[in-house]
Symmetry: none
Subunit: 237 residues, 2 copies
DNA sequence: CGTGAACCTGAGAGAACGCTGAGAATCTCT
DNA sequence: AGAGATTCTCAGCGTTCTCTCAGGTTCACG
């Protein structure tokens, strides 16, 4: 069975997600589609293998632990058939399955759970970029710039040091400039997909970010929209 | 089998509402149809599951507490069958049912009762928009503009700050320009659908809005239609 | 012109919301 | 192991928002 949520005529990147855990699958589908990818889901290894051979995808997210046929096997068989679609493997943290083994079987990259969505996107972009020899564009909002490839953030030429979490938050905001982003969405993207802590964490990190990107420059790029979320506002340089 | 969640400009979006409480179901049907959606109703979980598999919907509103088969189960079975129609779950506030669990079973989003219709519409639009990578259009009435994605309201280029409630009210009015909207309808859409307070609340908030969007500009966009309701009048710039 | 219904508005209580500093827990690197 | 960086939790605080209420104003109509 093939399930496609496709928009005909558009040239969106197509991604196949092979994941049996419904919640994670649904989360990945939601998040990736919001980023403009066309996403198909397969719940078992055999389904995934079949879909990957029947259709053409730009990339594949492949869980290792799958019912029926595990991720290694799927990867191996695909490569044997001469299918070299870029594969990003999702490995559990507990070490039962090995990351080296993932690469052995022909995976291009791996990501260990739990991961934040922003990190997943970064890896996926890197995979898709490969072969096209394109460097990711530098993000800019006002005089604030962020270079995803070097992870350098600067404001008006002055480089700014950020911690990983601060960086992930800023990258997410800068990829949606001018948009109001609810705390809920921010948590889903910047923290683990199943983070269940206090949304206050967002307020805290917004505070940290402001201290580094706004306060020293005496302005107010990162706005609070009370009752709705936060917004990176290009208008106020 | 190919299932497509297509965005078709020409035909109306089809929404399946699975809700046993007759009054709420009827309210949702009326409200959504007024917004241009084609709405089907299922009163039990089994009915809902059957309709969702037989027909193709663009989205699904799914109550959790249902006779026969609860919302979690419906969602789970649909996902198992490979049906990834966007699902917005309606959860009761009392915490007996968990929001995390809703996402566990593969729901795309959830909304806890009581909710305002404007919020429901916003979430529904977000679900439908997903995958089309389109930003919602800016609403405009005369020289008054409202951008749902940035939540920015402006009049003749001058930005206007609104509280969440004021914003919801204005958005509702601006989605029905030139129409006379009875207080009752406004309460149903902008407040809870079973709000039972004083209708005076509408007068109060209309007053707040006027102070921000009309008074400073010396005109009268937001009209009172005595005995009938309120109207946002594009003619009077 | 008087009357009642509908509408407007200012004041204020209580709740919700967001910000912040302190400090605990965890991670990283030497 | 130890130092420092980073992440996260928590409680307190001030602000903002929501909603109610009571009294005032406007309007339609007899």
């Amino acid at each position: 069975m093939v399930i496609r949520s496709a928009i005909e005529g558009s040239s969106r990147m197509r991604v196949l997600v092979v994941e049996d855990e419904v919640r994670l699958a649904s989360y990945l589908k939601r998040g990736l589609e919001a980023e403009g990818y066309a996403v198909d889901i397969a719940a078992t290894g055999t389904d995934g293998l079949w879909m990957a051979t029947e259709q053409t995808y730009d990339a594949m997210l492949l869980d290792i632990m799958l019912p029926g046929m595990n991720g290694y096997k799927v990867c191996e068989e695909l490569r044997q058939k001469g299918n070299w679609v870029p594969i990003l493997m999702l490995t559990a943290k507990d070490g039962e399955y090995d990351e080296a083994e993932a690469l052995d079987t022909g995976a291009d990259d791996f990501l260990s759970k739990p991961f934040s969505f922003v990190v997943l996107l970064a890896r996926l972009r890197a995979l898709l970029r490969r072969g096209s020899a394109e460097r990711p564009p530098v993000l800019a909002t006002g005089d604030l710039t962020l270079d995803p490839s070097s992870r350098v953030v600067a404001r008006g030429g002055v480089q700014i040091d950020l911690t990983p979490r601060e960086y992930a938050l800023l990258e997410f905001l800068m990829r949606h400039p001018g948009e109001v982003l609810p705390k809920r969405d921010i948590i889903e993207h910047v923290w683990d997909w199943e983070f269940e802590g206090d949304p206050n964490i967002v307020e805290v990190y917004v505070g940290y970010l402001r201290k580094k990107i706004d306060v020293p420059f005496g302005c107010d790029l990162l706005k609070t929209v009370r009752g709705a979320g936060y917004r990176l506002d290009p208008s106020n340089g």
